[in-house]
């Protein structure tokens, strides 16, 4: 266990206070968060499931216990995002991920809001992966800029700039589609 924790500490993945919270509790409370975040960064459920498995396996292997909910959340976000970034870098983006829904499908859609969400997710998949991760964490998961900076290992200024650029790009992609 100590070897695992040392390994995790060297990887920069370990929370400082590790006292309580069983593995099963963490999995039960956080599996949806991990899966959702991975899906929004990677754009498909199969990859998101693989990432979620890897995250919880690391948690189990290293025997990490968290002092509080915040520590667990931060650790899980960090490992999830890192694994997603690695995966996104190692694999070529699939066609499926970048395809925007067709107009016909839009016409068929009964709820306009759902269609808009789908368009937005497709546009999100076109962003560079680091920008995508910043937007997902800040705008969808609702983390503060400081927390996002902590998860991504960059400064708050960088995160703000990434999010700002990403929103401009998203607007561009969506407006181009709407024309």
């Amino acid at each position: 266990m100590w070897r695992g924790m040392l390994e995790a500490a060297l990887m920069g993945e370990i929370p400082r206070e590790t006292t309580s919270g069983s593995f099963d509790d963490v999995v039960r409370q956080r599996e949806a968060q991990v899966l959702r975040t991975a899906f929004r960064i990677l754009g498909n459920w199969a990859d998101a499931e693989d990432v979620a498995q890897e995250v919880f396996l690391r948690l189990h292997r290293h025997g990490i216990r968290f002092a509080n909910d915040g520590a667990a959340g931060a650790w899980l976000y960090r490992v999830t995002v890192n694994l997603c970034l690695d995966r996104a870098r190692s694999q070529r983006p699939s066609q499926e991920m970048f395809e925007l829904p067709s107009r016909e499908r839009s016409a068929e859609a009964s709820v306009l809001l759902e269609e808009k969400k789908r368009l937005l997710m497709a546009a999100l998949a076109m962003l560079p992966v680091k920008e995508r991760a910043a937007v997902v964490l800040r705008e969808i998961e609702g983390l503060s800029t400081a927390e996002v900076a902590g998860v991504l290992g960059s400064s708050e200024v960088t995160v703000r700039s990434q999010i700002s650029k990403a929103l401009v790009r998203l607007r561009g992609i969506l407006n181009r589609e709407e024309v």
């Binding site: 499931e49 979620a52 919880f56 929103l167 998203l170 969506l174």
Partner: protein
């Protein structure tokens, strides 16, 4: 779509439920992999045993033989062997005594020349 609309949409997506089948698959995958790791940890001696077996096998196979293995040739039919008398080396020939060479002594040579009627025949008498 403007920036605010995008932010609002993102906010709506925050509480979207995760598909139940995805959650179940992820949970099962974690349980399976953790189970496999536990079995792997319990059976830590299996790879050790395999390595030890390989080492012993390699030692036995590569061990050099102490004595050369005799090669068995097919038995040849026996042939009556004729015994030859043992060869005796030829006796060395007896040495002849060396002849003593007459010592040359300066003796005054006397020669008598006798003329015959035939002019081509001359008799010479030495000493």
């Amino acid at each position: 779509m403007n920036e605010q609309e995008i932010r609002d949409l993102f906010r709506e997506m925050r509480d979207e439920p995760v598909p139940a089948d995805s959650l179940a698959r992820a949970r099962m995958g974690v349980a399976e992999r953790i189970g496999a790791e536990r079995i792997g940890r319990k059976r830590w001696w299996v790879p050790l045993l395999a390595i030890a077996g390989c080492l012993i096998g390699a030692f036995l196979l590569l061990k050099p033989a102490k004595a050369p293995v005799p090669v068995q040739h097919p038995a040849l039919p026996e042939v009556a062997q004729v015994r030859l008398p043992p060869e005796t080396p030829p006796a060395p020939a007896p040495r002849r005594p060396k002849r003593a060479r007459p010592k040359q002594v300066a003796v005054p040579v006397s020669m008598i020349r006798i003329e015959t009627p035939d002019p081509e025949v001359v008799i010479l008498l030495v000493n």
